[in-house]
């Protein structure tokens, strides 16, 4: 399988505090990779640094090209998309304008077709296309944030806590759509606290603790790992205590 994103020995620091230490990861084409871990493990920091929002020490390559000198907008143009934890929508603009701007770098003729694809994926957005983004419910805002990122035709979409604060039924919907994206040829790097749901749909998984990866492997193996099960999946194997 060809590698789309490869991060080698990455360090990210806020001043003197290293929030991410010596992390390496790979995302292949047509693959869902998840990073699970507790709050404060450094997952969001890592995604932000891969996107170019925070400075990163180490090597990040996307589609074979070193990203070191490229800024956020260049990375977007290359096909790297990020749906950040706080969604960062244009709240005073309507749904359609938000989506249209997601395709800012795409040819106008293609943008129209992109929007139809996004509406097919999220019919709810089509119903609300003239509504201001700030007045949408949390779940709809998450859909809009994903839709806007998809409008840029990314090869790899990075999702930061897409399920945070959403009702279980909407979470299920969003995870279903993530698997549909893979089927449509978009790779996904998914950061989640909801490890159970994330491990279920992912191909490959990394477990992050205190800024480092402590485990990695096939998602199904990670889900079966006793330590992970105890720490993140909320159930215990017999005769074992929670760490």
């Amino acid at each position: 399988m060809s590698t789309l994103l490869s991060v080698t020995d990455a360090h990210v620091a806020y001043g003197k505090v290293e929030a991410v230490r010596s992390v390496s990861l790979e995302v292949g084409a047509n693959e869902i990779v998840t990073i699970v871990g507790a709050n404060g493990a450094g997952k969001t920091t890592l995604l932000s640094a891969i996107m170019g929002i925070l400075p990163l020490k180490g090597r990040v390559a996307f589609a074979g090209q070193d990203l070191a000198r490229l800024d956020i907008e260049d990375r977007v143009a290359m096909g790297l998309g990020l749906v950040p934890e706080h969604r960062e929508l244009f709240v005073t603009m309507n749904v359609e304008d938000n989506l249209e701007l997601g395709a800012f770098r795409i040819e106008r003729s293609k943008a129209k077709a992109s929007m139809e694809r996004v509406y097919a994926l999220f019919p709810r957005l089509k119903e609300r296309r003239k509504q201001l983004a700030g007045t949408l419910s949390g779940g709809e805002q998450q859909m809009l944030a994903m839709g806007r990122a998809l409008m840029g035709e990314p090869k790899l979409l990075m999702l930061d806590e897409p399920s945070l604060g959403l009702a279980p039924i909407i979470v299920a919907d969003i995870f279903r759509i993530v698997t549909e994206l893979r089927a449509a040829g978009v790779s996904v790097l998914l950061v989640e606290q909801n490890a159970q749901a994330a491990l279920k749909i992912a191909d490959h998984a990394y477990v992050m603790e205190l800024g480092e990866f402590v485990l990695s492997g096939k998602a199904s193996d990670i889900a079966a790992n006793e330590r992970v099960a105890a720490s993140y999946l909320g159930f215990q194997h017999e005769g074992e205590s929670v760490i």
């Binding site: 000198r69 907008e73 960062e88 244009f90 709240v91 603009m93 249209e100 701007l101 840029g152």
Partner: protein, 346 residues
Amino acid sequence: MNTTIMLFLVQDGITNGAIYALLGLALVLVFAVTRVILIPQGEFVTYGALTYASLAAGQMPGTAKLALALGIGAFAFDLFVARKALHGRLVVRSFIANVVLPAIVLALTLSLAAQKPPVAVCIALSLVIVAMIGLYLYRIAFQPLAHTSVLVLLIASVGVHLALQGLGLLFFGAEGQRGPAVLSGAFTAGALRFTGQSITVYAITIAFIVALWLFFGLTLYGKALRATAVNRLGARLAGIRTTLSGQIAFLLASVIGALSGILIVPITTLYYDSGFLIGLKGFVAAIIGGLVSYPLTAVAALVVGIVEAFSSFYASNYKEVIVFMLLIPVLLLRSLAAPAVEEEKD
């Protein structure tokens, strides 16, 4: 009070207010997109006005040379930033936009200035020259500071204002100038006399406001500018360059400034330092609009213009004081309405 006098004052106030409205809108736009409080907005006004007046009088305006000098500076900045990865295409594009363009305009100005070109040519040249100055100033003074705090940007803004004012004295001298009217002639309606120039002011202000409204509401670039103002990180993640938004904002602001100058220089004598006070009145309107609301700014600008007209009639010594005092109740109200000021994050 005499109704005729009142009507006159209101008419005068609306003419001035229209200009303040344009300037206020430009200030709101620039602040929303780049977080720069554009003190040099007034210099765009004087540069536009005096460049126009000089050209119409058959003199060579120094601003054309300044545009070329700033352009060369901007090109040097582009080269410096891209020094580690110089693309041929990037260099050529930057060279054309920053050096070739102002050089052509300078050559045109040099060849045309002596033969007193027609009004339309003077206007076009003045607008292009000031627009280029605005664009290059953004590249040199503000783009490198784009990530810093509002205070740092304000200090840079004051610096640019002082530099431009000094250069204005150098280019145009201490003498005031007047330019030819864009539209001569006049007609009377009842007690009121409308000059062609005041009609032009109304028409262009309204046309510009409508054009801006269409630009922001309908075009992709207009929406991108709004998006940058609403959420800078969101815009970057959508692939909208903040530098592009900043360039468009400064381009619009400098064109609006120069246009305002060209509109008022046939009515009022302008000096190299007149722009500051004119810009400040646009700023008063922008502050009343909270630096975010375009409609509120436009309405406030008309109020500022009318208050100014009345106070210059009844208490001309205090007219500036009265206009700027308008700010105090607004600021008081705003501070009461929003007791906790959130520190900016980015």
